[in-house]
Each structure stands twice: as C-alpha cells, then as structure tokens.
C-alpha cells in the first residue's frame, strides 16, 4: 500500500502488484538490459585501452545482484565522487558520469 496525504488527510491507494509492475515495465527494462550487454560487448571488441568509466560501470553493475534494497541509489553512489572538500578550480564545465579517483 502507498500512503498519500491529500488535503491533510492520509489516504491509502493500492500499490502495484509485482505482476502489474512486470506488465508495465518488463519489456522496457529488458530492452535497456540488452542495450547494456551490447555496450559491454562493443567495448570488448574495440581496440585500445578503457578507462575509469568502465571500471565504475562494472562496479555499478555489481550493485544489481543480490537482495540488497535501494539498487538505484547504490548504482548512483558507485558513480559518485565520495570526497568532501571543494576542488581548487573547476577544470571545465562538463561531467563525464563517473568519478576518476575510485580505486575499487
């Protein structure tokens, strides 16, 4: 059940069943998973060296296995800069999607 407060009154709405979630999102998720697999195949076929982004990607993919909850949050954390101090200067404006300093 999902509790939603409307006009200061808590109302309960039916949460989707697993079957309903599968009906609504399975094909989309399947499509995205195959795109990820094809991306990894593409990287393997390509010449040259990879970099920290692929390492972070593999670390993030590892968060999908198992029974731990909050998988989306864990994947986002795997790509994030965990440090706390501001950097001395902004080197450019863009973000690349993964933190270069990760060692795991």
């Amino acid at each position: 059940m999902v509790i939603v407060e409307i006009n200061h009154q808590a109302q309960i709405i039916d949460k989707m069943t697993k079957e309903q979630v599968l009906n609504l999102y399975f094909l989309d998720a399947r499509h995205k998973l195959i795109e990820v697999a094809a991306f990894l195949d593409r990287i393997e076929r390509a010449a040259g060296k990879d970099d920290f982004r692929l390492k972070a990607f593999h670390a993030a993919v590892g968060k999908l296995n198992g029974t731990q909850k909050e998988k989306a949050r864990r994947v986002l954390l795997a790509f994030s800069d965990p440090t706390k101090e501001p950097v001395a200067h902004a080197a450019g404006k863009g973000a690349v999607g993964a933190w270069p300093g990760r060692n795991d």
Binding site: M16, F79, H89, A95
Partner: protein, 257 residues
C-alpha cells in the same frame, strides 16, 4: 523559455499547464561581460512573459548568476550587484538557480554571495545541484552553506535535480526537493514516481527540463499520465504537479495563479 521555440509554450498550454517558472541559467556559452546578464534578465522579466501570455500562460522567473559561470569571481560580483534592481519585477520569484557545478572553491564563494543576497532581500531560493558524478558531493556542500547561514529558512529553499542518492539528504534538511525530468540524465518519469512512492508527497515536486539539450517541455504532463497508469489517484497527481509547486511558490506574494 529563452532556449525554446514558441511552439513549446503552445504545447504546454494545450497540455493544461497554467504557468512557467524559468530559472536563470547558462546560455550554453559564457557571457563576455555583466552587460550580457543585464540583457538576459531583461529578456526573462520583459520579453518572455509577453511570449507566454499569447497562450494564456503566466510566466515567472528566477534571477542569479549560474554556477557554470561562477569560476570568474570578479565577473560574478559585478553580476550580483545588478540583481537587486530586478528583484522587484512582477514576475521574479527569487534567487535561482544558484548552486554548484564542479564543486570548486570559487563556485562555493559565489554561492555564498547569492545566499547572502537572498537572505538580505528575503527571497525564495532555487538551487541547482551538479550533474552526474558531482551531484552527491555538491549537494552535501550546498546543504552545508544553507545550514551555516542562520537567516535562511529551510522551507524557503527548493533544491532541484534530486535523485535517489540525494533526495533523503535534502528532505532531512527541511528543504523542498525538485525532481527534474530529463531524457538522458537526471530523472525519468518512472524513477520520479518511485521516489514519490518512497518519500511521500509532502515537499517534493516535478519539473520539466526545458533547456538547450534534448529535453521535453511536456515531461510533467507525461509523468502525470504515468502516475495514472500506476494507480495514483487524481487528487494525489494534482497535489504533486500543481498544489505542491503552488504551495512553495506561494510563499512569494507575487506568485498568483
């Protein structure tokens, strides 16, 4: 919406949107002087309201210097000095979107400068959080700046572009949290609804990214449809996409719809 064609105003009106709230942001290139910002604020406060009004849409905006142009502190100081003149314009809701981009010391300095400006003029604040790998750290740094300025009331601040790893931090600090719907980064409609179902509807809202990149002015109405497909009640959908923004923005007396 300075980065959008007029058809987007028409499409939003046809989809049932009532108002547009446009933050001051990066132009896709760095402006060469503070005069460029003066012209931009004039565009936001004079031209865009007229363009939106042709389709019955009210246009509100925020003014600031964005984080992507905050590395040059001297320029930022000149720009910040221009802002008070625009705060009394009828469609200006507050200071925004201020924040961080690459989490640098200069960006932080300019953020603090603008938080001070907002406090001094008793303005609402709209905060941009950094992209991708920089978001978590940037969100923490921003929350520290806001917490350290005792004049800032948490409920007067909305922190935008939250995702699963930052939404809890923002809500726990007492601020509003915005979920920006964006096709390539930030939140998809499905993920935004997941966050709503997890964290509740109290201080969350949705917004459509309408910038220079691939983005969709109808992302909010499309998310409303997605909520309906997932069984959310009409009143709950109305609360998230209409009543919540109205509640936050209504803290500024100029916001009337």
């Amino acid at each position: 919406m300075v980065s959008r064609v007029t058809d987007d105003y028409e499409r939003m009106a046809l989809a049932g949107c009532e108002a547009v709230c446009e933050p001051a942001f990066w132009a896709g290139f760095d402006r060469s002087s503070s005069a460029g910002f003066y012209d931009y604020y004039s565009q936001l406060t004079e031209h865009e309201p007229r363009r939106a009004a042709k389709f019955g849409l009210k246009h509100f905006c925020w003014v600031c210097i964005n984080a992507k142009e905050a590395e040059d502190v001297k320029l930022a100081e000149e720009v910040v000095a221009l802002i008070p003149k625009f705060l009394s314009r009828p469609n200006v809701l507050g200071i925004g979107e201020i924040g961080l981009n690459k989490n640098s010391r200069n960006e932080l300095k300019v953020l603090e400068m603008q938080v001070d400006l907002a406090a001094w003029h008793n303005q609402l604040i709209l905060v941009h959080t950094p992209h991708l790998e920089d978001k978590l750290k940037g969100t923490r740094l921003i929350l520290d700046v806001l917490k350290n300025d005792k004049r800032i009331r948490p409920e007067h601040v909305i922190i935008d572009h939250v995702e699963e790893h930052t939404v809890g931090l923002v809500l726990d600090a007492g601020h509003w949290a915005g979920m920006t719907l964006y096709p390539e980064t930030k939140c998809s409609p499905a993920r935004a609804i997941d966050i709503l179902e997890t964290y509740g509807h109290e201080r969350l809202w949705l917004n459509s990214a309408c910038d220079w990149g691939v983005s969709d002015a109808l992302a909010v109405p499309k998310t409303a449809l997605e909520m309906k497909k997932r069984g959310h009640l009409a009143a709950a959908i109305d609360r998230v996409i209409f009543q919540n923004p109205k509640r936050f923005l209504g803290q500024c007396s100029k916001f009337k719809i």
